[in-house]
């Protein structure tokens, strides 16, 4: 496969694994030095905010401890479209920008009798990914989830 397609394929696979809450398999697509951030620009406070920043080890702890927490289990569905893939000249790394829209299908977050089964718009943003390419495989070195949202209501315990 051509390098751009390898990168694209990894981003779409990551989307499916995240939607499926297969956190460990998602982390398998990530480099040992993987860095993950959720960021958003706030015109309210004129500040480029970081909502979450974790390395791979931190993410592994976070997903491991999820069962200990009380959580809104309404599943999230990410709609990702890869907009651009720029492969470095040496063909070893690439930068990719994708649009991502996250829907939440209500389960237990409010009053399940009324809301469960209803899909709502939850997040709007971009994935800004840096990938390594080796032996025909792309791995995530860095993912910045750049959200437009500053109204986040209950928020989420899950990586986006």
């Amino acid at each position: 496969m051509e390098n751009t397609n390898i990168v694209r394929d990894a981003i779409y696979r990551a989307t499916m694994l995240l939607d499926g809450q297969k956190w460990d398999q998602w982390l398998d697509l990530c480099d040992d030095d993987f860095k993950y951030e959720i960021k958003s620009w706030s015109p309210e406070i004129n500040y480029d905010m970081t909502y979450l920043q974790l390395d791979r080890k931190g993410l592994a702890s976070l997903v491991k401890l999820l069962p200990m927490h009380n959580t809104d289990h309404s599943p999230l569905t990410r709609h990702t479209t890869v907009y651009s893939v720029d492969v470095a000249e040496d063909g070893k790394t690439a930068k990719a920008v994708s649009s991502v829209v996250v829907y939440q299908t209500m389960l237990d977050g409010i009053n399940s009798h009324i809301d469960s089964g209803e899909s709502r718009l939850f997040l709007v943003g971009k994935y800004i990914d840096t990938m390594s390419i080796e032996d025909g495989k792309a791995r995530f070195l860095n993912r910045e989830v750049r959200l437009e949202n500053r109204r986040l209501d209950k928020g989420s315990h899950w990586p986006i």
Binding site: P43, I45, Y47, S61, L65, M68, R151, D153
Partner: protein
Amino acid sequence: MNGSRYLSSERSSFIPQDTTGDAVTRAIVMQTVAGGQQQEDLVAAKNHAQWVANPPLPPNEWVDSKIYSDEGIFNEELEKIFKKVWIPVCHESELPNAYDFRTTTIAREPIVIVRGADNQIRAFLNVCPHRGMIVERRPAGSFLDGQPSGNPKRMTCMFHGWQYDMKGNCVFISREKEGYQDRLCKDDIGLRRLRCEVKFGGFVWVTLEDNPSVSLEDWAASAFSCLRKTLDAEPLEVFHYHKAIVNTNYKLWHDTNCEFYHDFMHYHNRVTGFNDAYFARKNEAFEHGHIIVGTFEVNYDKYEGFESRAELSFPHLPPNQWYMIDLFPGMNFNLRGSALRCDIVTPLGPNKVMIEFRGLGLKRDTPEERMTRINHHNSIWGPFGRNLHEDLIGVQGQGTTMLPGSEDRHILLGRHENQTIHDENGMRHYYSEWAKWMNRQASDPSKPYERPAAAAAE
């Protein structure tokens, strides 16, 4: 979605593994678990008459859920409380330069906060006296730039181009003479100015009341006394902002900030907190309905992936302290060692509240220090943090059972534990203040306020 994932065997480790050596923790957690089982065996569920009957507690130890769900009471709260008290609306670091502004709302009244050329921060109703347009529509920005229908250094109402200076004076009326001749001039017009002060760590406080019953200093100084030296030691800066709009009453959010009994809901707080020092933390009540929850040393490293915050403690504080200041009628200042959080509620309806969350560090932070503070703040309190999500699910769940029109019921505030952390004296103190402002009893809002008998006083 795999539901069974959340029923894994790890769930059974309800008793925090790392604190089971601690006798107090074990005793309390075991009691709770055993108590739960006992209740199932011994105590019958209630029929309707039993369910609505008063609990065997004095009336200052419960409230009627009508105070969370009634539209009339809600409107009265805006008039009698929110239009009268001091509200922290933003932080001075959000308007660092002359001509910077920020907009907000108190009790449905839009407000604009501006920093003048003289560096003074002032507040005005964000309402044009001509035909009622909102003067500034943006959340924040600078008046240094001109606007499509106005000049630089002016607040311009886009509708018909009237302009105001940073002191709220009207300085331009389009075709003034042609339309008003000598009947009305700029001096007859002006923005409505509001009392505004910068205090207690650089927060900007506003009141809609021209003659507040107490000065801002007298309103909050006693509650802030535990942290005043810390917050006023050097300039602070906001690094985090997000908002939640939740279908629940604003007081239920404030209650959650006032009671720590709900730490049973937070795995993080159980493992990092439950020890002798935690259970000795005192709830302290102050004049005007404010409370604080005293500090202790948190063991952050008991939660996998977390670290001690000792390196970046706020000025004049021992490491890893945790102070909580809850101000009537719904503002919260929460300092966990290295990061300060401030919640401001804007009630939108009996069953709807906007909560604005801010995180603050020291203005002089290096980029590395700032990043560490941000991570400390967000790991627990961010929109993707461990505790905030749980707190918001909790109050949303209460809102779900207390919709306008749903049956009134008792909400208990009756725990007595020598005014320590799981005592509910903080909420009782709040509702006795609420009763005064509203001239209603929280346990029966149809009855007027009665000064509590000395014995029942907290």
